[in-house]
Assembly symmetry: C2
Homo-oligomer: 230 residues x 2
Amino acid sequence: MANGVLSAGSRLPPEDQLVERYAVSRTTIRTAIQSLSARGLVEIRRGKGTFVTQPAITQELTELTGFVEDMQALGREPSARVLDRRLVAASETVARQLSLPRGAPVARIQRVRLADGIPLSFDETYLPQELGEKIMTDDLENQPIFSLLEQKYATPLIEAEYRLAAVASHGTVARALGMEAGSPIFLIERTSFSAHRRPVDYERLYYRGDHIRFVTRLARRAPLGARALG
Amino acid sequence: MANGVLSAGSRLPPEDQLVERYAVSRTTIRTAIQSLSARGLVEIRRGKGTFVTQPAITQELTELTGFVEDMQALGREPSARVLDRRLVAASETVARQLSLPRGAPVARIQRVRLADGIPLSFDETYLPQELGEKIMTDDLENQPIFSLLEQKYATPLIEAEYRLAAVASHGTVARALGMEAGSPIFLIERTSFSAHRRPVDYERLYYRGDHIRFVTRLARRAPLGARALG
């Protein structure tokens, strides 16, 4: 249940069926369900059954932050599995985002990011060769790339451009996140800039659609009259 | 091709097949493809074929704006089809967002929003009864609700809370947008506030995932030292 096989909103099978299916006692099933309920993963609705809850992760999208910072702000335990790290030739998009010629060597780091042990996103990070070759040798399971850039490599981050989309999961991404192909992914493409608007990090962050919500607040533009006066 | 039957990224059949299928001359096919290419709807890749381009609609997500304002900013022709308008009992979510008791009567307006005649989003708007009963009688195919609120009903909008998610299309939404069930939807839930933080409009905006991208820019929080100094 905790491994994402049941989607948000679906109902757990009745106790009797769980007892039979898992060949455990009714007490064990009840304890397990109460534990899931306490962690907010299921919701027991009296007389109706037990339902997988909507995703608990609701993340602010108001300033440039990395995954580890985001999870810590939410009181969740971040972790990472590095799937691959290598130099590749920049595709047209990667080259444009990092202001490099197409085909230039760039470091590509692929990681699965987990929150409390549950895979939440598949992240593909592209870095210019000079920075990337160093960062590829770092401990990327435990050291956030933002921290490495800012603290170890004296490359302060100033701001980032975000592009947000809803896409269908496919091949590598679906496998890495344990999703069925075609399931909704919240895709963030993010280009982070250092001083003098130098792009230093281009990422594709594929979040499980069923596990994440982003929240932000936007102000109404002052009406023309007010702007003229202001 | 322009009606959305081919999804972004897919390849058009070869010229020969198009000539046969549509029983027109090769010149007509070439002219049609060049016209689509000029409008950015397809991309001709030499030696590889003609591909449906990624969606051209890339929308800013930096201030509170309505659909008509968004499309006008992009040079696209907005239109709307009203599917339904009626008073309903507020669900728990709607009630919470509009600061009303659960079950209170609220106006619900369902519209399909189109850009250059292409369905882009299915919008469900909930308004408190007093405002909603008036707005339901307005010309909602031609008058943006934001304009009605601000200009006709003296209810200035100050800011909004946005919740962003990637979800799968289903029933009403899939049918309204002509999508297959399960296709990715970029869902925006938006609660707009008037003066004194009074919620006046709660919307669920279901955008076709394959037709839209949102862009924003976020600044890095100043490091602790700088903040202490600032």
